[in-house]
């Protein structure tokens, strides 16, 4: 590219201005990266939701339990191929700030239900053989520097007392967006320490169906089965269930979009102004280029090229910084377990930066292209 020194030389003409504009792009795209991470964290449940899985919760509220006796009844409904259940434990490890989700799971079916979580066979076998055993996600292991064989005390909040667990295995996610901050232990262990009136209850059921097209029919059949019972159910697809959770936190999508739009609009004004000044200062030079034979299209491309170059370098820098930031892990102490800047978000960010560069550069580039050589040379 024999013209590249023209672009570089022009950008280095006012180093402070170029640095500040690059900085504007970098800060904006860093923020974009973080917003994308937060959005991803909130929508993670939607992304990982299995199309052939339903979630059955108490119709009154998710914090109300359901009887364990529903298990067999649900399993008999046509279209249901597997049923498992789990309870939210809500315990505290050492300090309340050390939040991570703990689930009391049904150990015979849970692994089958969620094949995206990978546990080595020998570790799963060790878990099954230990009533106080636990399987933990690899991110959780890294966070607390645990290892297989460690004994971990967790103080119950919903279920009183201090509960001791033996780490028997570590699970990994098969996809980057899989949550590997969970802590699983035996439902039987929870059950044996329950007082009488809390025995035989589960938090929710997860149901696998034979065909995602049957989801509506099977969900209706489950809810109909328990209509007018003391424990009515609400069944929905795993995706709808996850979406409901996101909605509880408010319209996150709108909030993030609003912040992002304001940031990019401001960036557009800053860059547009910079490019306009840069072109105005160089009218004579651009006129000379035209006089010696450079075409209008070349002058247009030169100015646009500078704007796009600024956008690509500044934007790339900002995205790289946000990626680096996410590599340090969730800074919220477990509230955003899926703290990950995905490649599509990086590509979207770069495209957004280039779009801003293009829009910001187009007016100055257009005026440079339309510049009359005679008029520009006459200016002193």
């Amino acid at each position: 590219m024999k013209y590249r020194h023209l672009i570089f030389a022009n950008l280095l003409r006012k180093k402070i201005r170029t640095t500040l504009t690059l900085g504007s792009f970098a800060v904006a795209l860093f923020l974009f990266g973080l917003l994308a991470v937060v959005r991803g964290a909130f929508n993670q449940g939607l992304e990982v939701a299995g199309a052939n899985r339903l979630v059955v919760v108490n119709k009154v509220s998710i914090i109300q339990p359901l009887p364990i006796s529903y298990l067999d009844k649900i399993a008999r409904i046509p279209g249901v191929t597997l049923v498992t259940h789990a309870n939210w434990f809500g315990g505290v490890y050492q300090d309340e700030r050390n939040f991570f989700p703990q689930f009391a799971i049904e150990d015979q079916t849970y692994r089958q239900m969620f094949p995206e979580f990978i546990v080595p066979d020998d570790q799963w076998k060790a878990f099954i053989g230990d009533r106080e055993g636990a399987i933990v996600g690899e991110d959780l292991v890294k966070r607390f520097h645990w290892k297989v064989g460690d004994r971990v005390p967790i103080k119950g909040t919903i279920f009183p007392g201090t509960w001791e667990f033996n780490i028997r295995g570590i699970y990994k996610g098969s996809r980057p967006q899989d949550d590997t901050t969970q802590f699983w232990f035996h439902y039987k262990y929870l059950e044996e320490r329950q007082n009488l009136y809390r025995k035989g209850l589960v938090g929710w059921y997860t149901v696998r169906i034979d065909n995602p097209d049957n989801a509506t029919r099977v969900a209706a059949a489950i809810d109909e089965l328990f209509t007018n019972s003391p424990w009515e159910t609400k069944t929905e697809t795993e995706k709808a269930f996850a979406a409901g959770f996101v909605k509880q936190a408010g319209n996150i999508e709108f909030l993030l979009l609003s912040i992002g739009s304001v940031v990019f609009f401001t960036l557009l004004l800053v860059t547009g102004n910079t490019m306009a000044i840069a072109v105005r200062e160089r009218m004579r030079e651009l006129a000379v280029l035209k006089a010696v034979g450079f075409s209008d299209a070349f002058v247009l491309a030169l100015v646009l090229g500078e704007s796009l170059f600024l956008a690509a370098i500044g934007g790339g820098l900002g995205l790289a910084l946000s990626k680096l930031f996410t590599l340090r892990g969730d800074p919220t102490g477990g509230m955003l377990p899926y703290f990950y800047l995905s490649p599509p978000a990086v590509i979207l960010g770069l495209l957004a930066a280039l779009a801003v560069g293009m829009v910001a550069g187009i007016l100055p580039a257009w005026s440079a292209m339309r510049l009359r050589v005679v008029d520009a040379l006459r200016r002193v």
Binding site: A9, R13, V288, V292, G293, F294, S295
Partner: protein
């Protein structure tokens, strides 16, 4: 041979016929050039003189294809440029015209070498060929040792010599010089005029020069005066 009576033999390098240029300033119409004729042969060195506002620079701009006439025709090396599209005219300028400006108009963020190389970027020459051409041009103007200097590191005379190197590097049909010594001291101005004269004498370039400076004008073979929108012949001299 330079003629201003419109009776050139048709073999002229530059042939101008009935050239008109009008400007609109508010409600007033200013007639700068009125039916101007000119014939310039290859290898001529012509100086245009005249009072400020007489239309010297306008004539130069029209000859260089960076302005359009109100009427009349300009033919350079057989190409009628007055009816060319803007895109064609741009290509034509790259091939035929070398501009030398009063304010040098070098790009301050490029070195002397890179400034001189600019017109060659429009050609298909390789990097090595471009380098060779640039070094030749800088050698002619005596600035080989300053090729990596930026304009701010050069004197006014040196900047103008870089401007001349840029104008000749692509070997154009003719050079159009708009007050090339207007911003220089006498010594530097003489050096620049020596250089232009040498380009005509040794390299057979055709030079059309606009100047206020009678000393500079005396270096041309022909001096033409612009009066009331037409050219009249002045004194002639040997190329010195």
């Amino acid at each position: 041979m330079v003629r201003v009576d419109g009776r050139g033999d048709g073999n002229s390098l530059v042939r101008v016929r009935g050239l008109d240029k009008k400007y609109q300033r508010g409600s007033e119409e200013i007639h700068v050039l009125q039916g101007l004729n000119l014939d310039v042969d290859a290898g001529d060195f012509v100086a245009f003189m005249g009072p400020s506002g007489s239309g010297k620079t306008t004539l130069l701009n029209l000859l260089g294809g960076i302005d359009l006439p109100s009427a009349g025709s300009i033919t350079v090396a057989g190409d009628e440029i007055t009816h060319m599209s803007a895109a064609k005219l741009t290509q034509w300028r790259a091939r035929h015209v070398g501009f030398i400006f009063q304010m040098y108009n070098l790009i301050p963020v490029l070195t002397a070498f890179q400034n001189v190389e600019l017109p060659l970027l429009l050609t298909k020459l390789s990097t090595a060929e471009r380098r060779q051409h640039v070094e030749t041009a800088l050698g002619i103007v005596g600035l080989m040792d300053r090729m990596h200097y930026y304009p701010r590191q050069l004197s006014g005379g040196q900047e103008q010599r870089v401007g001349i190197a840029r104008a000749i590097v692509a070997d154009p049909t003719f050079l159009l010089c708009d007050e090339p010594t207007g911003d220089l001291d006498r010594k530097s101005a003489d050096e620049v005029m020596d250089l232009l004269a040498r380009l005509v004498r040794e390299h057979h370039k055709t030079v059309l020069l606009v100047t206020h400076d009678p000393v500079a004008a005396q270096r041309a073979q022909t001096v033409l005066h612009l009066e009331k929108g037409v050219l009249v012949e002045g004194q002639a001299a040997e190329v010195r």
